[in-house]
């Protein structure tokens, strides 16, 4: 863990994921530089979320490697990946519905907490101190994403936009080096999209690299430094937004449809 930081936070090499006969991710290689906003785009069913799931350990890749922070994490379990410093949000929001917002974020702190069963059973002083500290940290994170007023409501009861924010706060609570956002602006109003972009910039300022899947071109072009385009599981383009936008294959596969 004490290696010098590598230039690339995440490197995927020839990553392939098959489901029976379907090749969901086909021989994709890409690398994400430390401190950038990297976007993954592509039409529906292109394999974007599957790629995320392979990175975060929900799926085992059929072949290829995932290297995070100079360390091969191919085939690691989701909780190990989270511990190493990759956090994510989900395309369909997956909050702990019947826990309060602050508890949701405190669950995110789980990996960075040290209380053992004995500490909790007997409420030892160090456990109490940790709880107080973690609650404060959770409140700070809620404030960071702008929903501190809802701290003690059930996650279930928040409006949609705030649920997305809460999910980001929960992911940030794990102290990630790399944050994976799966369609964070889906269903947002233009105003909310602007706020989201501001939030992503704030996250970046914390030294966290952001890897996002997004359909909304304004958001993607507005905040990302580099883009990879997937179509039918294959990487068809990579580069800065302006280049990708002009790529004929991309226009054909993706932008062409929406234009």
């Amino acid at each position: 863990m004490s290696q010098a930081p590598t230039e690339n936070v995440l490197e995927l090499t020839n990553l392939t994921k098959r489901f029976g006969g379907l090749v969901a991710v086909d021989d994709v290689s890409l690398h994400i530089k430390r401190g950038e906003v990297f976007a993954l785009i592509g039409p529906n069913g292109a394999g974007k979320t599957t790629l995320f799931n392979n990175v975060t350990g929900l799926f085992q890749p059929t072949s290829g490697t995932v290297v995070f922070d100079g360390r091969n994490i191919t085939g690691s379990k989701p909780h190990e990946v989270a511990r190493l410093g990759i956090a994510r949000t989900f395309q369909n929001i997956r909050l702990f519905d019947y826990m309060t917002c602050v508890d949701n974020v405190r669950v995110g702190r789980h990996v960075r907490m040290r209380a053992k069963v004995w500490d909790s059973l007997f409420k030892l002083p160090r456990e109490r101190r940790e709880e107080v500290r973690v609650t404060e940290e959770a409140m700070d994170l809620l404030k960071f994403v702008g929903i501190q007023r809802q701290a003690h409501q059930y996650a279930r009861n928040l409006p949609y936009g705030q649920q997305r924010r809460l999910e980001i706060a929960r992911a940030l609570a794990t102290e990630p080096k790399l944050l994976l956002l799966d369609e964070p602006a889906a269903g947002f109003t233009p105003q909310e999209k602007v706020e989201l972009m501001a939030l992503v910039k704030k996250i970046l300022a914390r030294g966290i690299t952001v890897f996002l899947i997004e359909h909304d071109m304004k958001v993607v072009m507005g905040i990302s430094e580099r883009i990879v385009v997937l179509d039918h599981g294959e990487k068809i383009a990579e580069g800065p937004p302006d280049e990708v936008r002009k790529d004929p294959r991309v226009i054909e596969a993706y932008l062409g449809k929406s234009a």
Binding site: T56, L58, K77, P78, H79, A82, R83, A87, R88, F90, R94, L95, F96, D97, Y98, M99, V102, D103, R106, V107, G108, H110, V111, M113, A115, V117, D119, S120, L121, F122, K123, E127, E130, E131, E136, M139, K143, Q148, R149, A151, H152, Y154, R156, R170, A171, A173, T174
Partner: protein
């Protein structure tokens, strides 16, 4: 947005008040329970001139302990365990084997008489270990599948104790289990063979008794067991409450809500569920040791499926996930099963003759008399009581806030669905 100063303390204020209010209901229930628990022995001994009800209450305490333990597994972590009595059996047999003459006749040829206090902790750890052993291969299963596996485990364990009769005596049971030597601070100076020796020479005439008797008259002292089980329950409640409001408690809740998201947040779902299983099992382990000691006899048929189900009913009916609810549920179900239903035939009989329907009490052909008929219908009535209680209060008697919310939302969603359907 707000004119209030945005200090941290300020923003935390309303939530704290909210929490305190929510906690108040539980505090009130605990208060009432403690007062009842303290008055109960005095009141019943005064009213009935015997300690029978106190020993019943001590026995009920075993089930309260079991319900508190099962609540960790079912209520907190959301794992349906249908074989919980297995761990209870393991705890009881652990104590029974090492605190009776049983092992004399076994291949070990040596009777162990280890002290209760030691064995209570041993039983706790043995049950927890079996919880982990069972959990390790099975916790990858979800929901219904896990329930079936635990059901199987619950069937196997009593059978093992039944068939390993060389060691366990099988159907002959293990009797003559050592009574724990309880310290005077539990038995109290007023009672108990192990109380202060001087007291034994005195005879007392309590204000409610008709004649003088030795101050200690019970070699098997119900009041001591009653106090002991109260202490165990209080300890269990404190420990479980601590767990519930801790890192681990939140991890359990998270897994119950959404296992995938919990794993993505860095929670090791397998070990966390394993801990729920092991901790739940450990409570039933020491409940088992207490049960063996207070009952003096363990046999395999005390741990059949019906025990697992009864404890599950206590948890669900009391209010899954809420400790006070579960305690109240356990007490109510125990009362219904062991007091209300058995006394029902005679109550009905005397009621019938009081209102002039005495002829119903006479046997006549196929009619076994009202009492006999009630006897036969006992478990139908039990079933009816359960169905009615669940219909009237599906969230349990004192539900956890979460269950309350879930059911409210489910109801709203159902209404919305109906509205949509009728508009379509």
């Amino acid at each position: 947005m707000s004119t209030r100063p945005a200090g941290k303390r300020r923003s935390l204020l309303p939530p704290i008040r909210f929490r305190e209010r929510m906690r108040d209901r539980d505090t009130a229930i605990y208060g009432v329970l403690i007062i009842i628990a303290l008055i109960f022995p005095l009141a019943t001994i005064f009213a009935t001139d015997s300690t029978f009800l106190v020993s019943q209450a001590g026995h009920a305490g075993t089930f309260v302990l079991l319900a508190i333990g099962l609540n960790v597994v079912v209520g907190f972590a959301g794992l349906l365990d249908l074989g919980y009595a297995a761990f209870f059996a393991i705890g009881a047999y652990t104590y029974a084997l090492f605190a009776s003459a049983q092992l004399q006749a076994s291949p070990a040829h040596h009777a162990y008489h280890l002290p209760f206090w030691l064995m209570m902790f041993v039983a706790l750890f043995v049950a927890a270990a079996f919880g982990a052993v069972l959990g390790f291969p099975t916790l990858r299963l979800r929901g219904d599948y896990l329930a079936i596996v635990t059901l199987g485990f619950g069937e196997i364990v009593p059978q093992l104790f039944f068939n390993f009769d060389q060691w366990t005596g099988g159907i002959n049971a293990i009797g003559g289990i050592d009574q724990p030597s309880l310290p005077a601070w539990i038995t109290g100076p007023w009672a108990g063979a192990n109380g202060i020796a001087i007291l034994q020479n005195f005879t007392c005439k309590p204000f409610w008794a008709s004649s003088a008797a030795p101050c200690y008259s019970f070699s098997f002292d119900p009041i001591a067991y009653y106090v002991l089980v109260l202490i165990l329950i209080v300890a269990a409640v404190i420990l479980v409450t601590n767990l519930h409001r801790s890192r681990l408690g939140r991890a359990w809740m998270a897994i119950r809500e959404d296992e995938v998201a919990a794993a993505a947040m860095g929670i090791n779902t397998v070990t966390t569920k394993l801990l729920a299983f092991a901790i739940g099992a450990s409570f039933s382990g020491f409940a088992g040791a207490y049960y063996g000691a207070s009952f003096g006899l363990v046999s395999p048929d005390q741990f059949y499926f019906v025990v697992s189900i009864t404890v599950l009913v206590m948890v669900v009916l009391g209010g899954m996930g809420n400790i006070t609810g579960v305690i109240v549920g356990a007490i109510i179900i125990y009362f219904v099963l062991n007091s209300l239903l058995p006394s029902l035939p005679s109550t009905v009989e005397s009621f019938a003759s009081n209102i002039g329907l005495g002829f119903l009490n006479d046997r006549n052909g196929d009619w076994p008399g009202l009492a006999g008929e009630t006897q036969r219908l006992q478990f139908l009535l039990y079933g009816l009581i359960l169905v009615l209680m669940m219909l009237l209060r599906p969230q349990g008697i004192f539900p956890s806030r979460v269950r309350e919310q879930e059911l409210k939302h489910a109801a709203v969603q159902e209404e919305e669905a109906v509205v949509e359907m009728t508009h379509a």
